[in-house]
């Protein structure tokens, strides 16, 4: 049966064992070196969806940025502390961008965060925000007060801007719409079909 057993048998078995043993390293190297090619994130600058998954192009997205500076080290959004997490309309994870530093939307600060996107046909900003954050089963719960000028958001994902302390007078959740600071509150914001709304902590 093995009458033709020869050099080839030995060499092939040795190579196979070497490949199997070094496979974890090969795989790790490969994943690191192909990260940019594999990324399905939108990389055209000036696109309202820059840095977001390409399947969200022209759809509605909400992002929440959690600062990781020592300024706000008492933040509590502990579920989303690694890079940026992208969730689809059902709350399922699409991917986690662990090196989100180069991909941070509308912010020069290093942040971690979460984006929920792929929505369509929302018109009222506040309704969109509540429904989109609701897909995470409470991880992104929104706390707000009803004020004279509509809802005032003070807490997202357990991070209450009013309770932040640090080298500043006060902090608040700031609203951005398609790359610019929104000139209306979330209660008056009219959604476009390609709206990306971003919440991040601002200080004064």
């Amino acid at each position: 049966m093995l009458e033709n057993f020869g050099r080839r048998h030995v060499i092939s078995a040795v190579i196979l064992v070497v490949v199997i043993v070094s496979f974890p390293q090969i795989n790790k190297l490969w994943l690191e070196s192909t990260e940019e090619v594999r990324s399905s994130l939108i990389t055209t600058e000036n696109n309202t969806h820059y840095g977001l998954p390409s399947e969200w192009e022209n759809k509605q997205v909400i992002c929440i940025h959690f600062p990781v500076d020592d300024v706000t080290s008492n933040m509590t959004a502990s579920n989303f502390t690694e890079g940026r997490t992208y969730l689809d309309v059902s709350g399922s994870e699409i991917l986690i961008d662990e090196n989100s530093e180069g991909m941070v939307n509308y912010s020069e600060d290093r942040t971690t965060g979460v984006c929920v996107g792929g929505f369509e046909n929302y018109t009222a900003g506040f309704n969109f925000m509540l429904e989109a954050t609701n897909v995470t089963n409470g991880d992104l719960e929104v706390g707000y007060d009803d004020g004279d000028w509509g809802p005032y958001v003070h807490t997202i994902a357990g991070l209450n801007a009013n309770e932040l302390t640090g080298n500043f007078t006060g902090a608040y959740w700031a609203l951005y719409h398609n790359g610019a600071m929104s000139d209306v509150g979330i209660g008056d914001l009219v959604m476009l079909e390609n709206s990306v709304i971003v919440w991040k902590i601002a200080t004064w």
């Binding site: 092939s12 196979l16 090969i26 795989n27 594999r38 399905s40 390409s54």
Partner: protein, 213 residues
Amino acid sequence: MVAYHVFDLNPVASVLLNLSLLGVICWSLLKIEKNYSNGHKFIILGLLALLGIVGRILMSPIPNVQPVTVIVLLAGIRMGAKESIFLASIIALFSNLILGNGVWTIYQAAAWSIIGCSGALFSNKLDTSMKLILFAGASGVLFNWFVSLSILHSVGFDMLMPYLIVGIPYDLLHVVGNITFMIWLSNPLTEIMSRKIENNLNFEVSEYEPKPF
């Protein structure tokens, strides 16, 4: 209640254990075949199916290193397309009863069938061992990419390319595994597959005349 069987084998130990089990099974099956098989196609097909199923299950701790691709490829070359389709489907179905059944089963069966059929198609051209080895290596990539299409049931088309790129080290494993299995299995399996019926296995009912009372 104490579960005596629950203890952690480290991965290397479990692979070695499985490999020795596989070795014993292969050795004994091939011995049995040599002693008892008269070259009837059904017996040989059953034996090859068993080898593929057992081989795939026992090698499963190492992703993509399994003898099935080489078995169906050789079956296509030495026996024919229909035989390889039978083996591909039976092996995919029965090994996935243990490894996990799903929509990918049909893709695996189809991919192995395609490999077997292309082996049958090019059987005249695959006349040197080097060509066999190269063909076995290429089948690994073909198989992986074909089965990867099954992710399109759950994600969009634009996720396919990143998925294939992530899988390339796994393709490499399949290629190296196939080449090794081809070198090791080509001769013994070819010997079994090309055995002609040597002595008649008598399936016919022998006629006898009942004695009158």
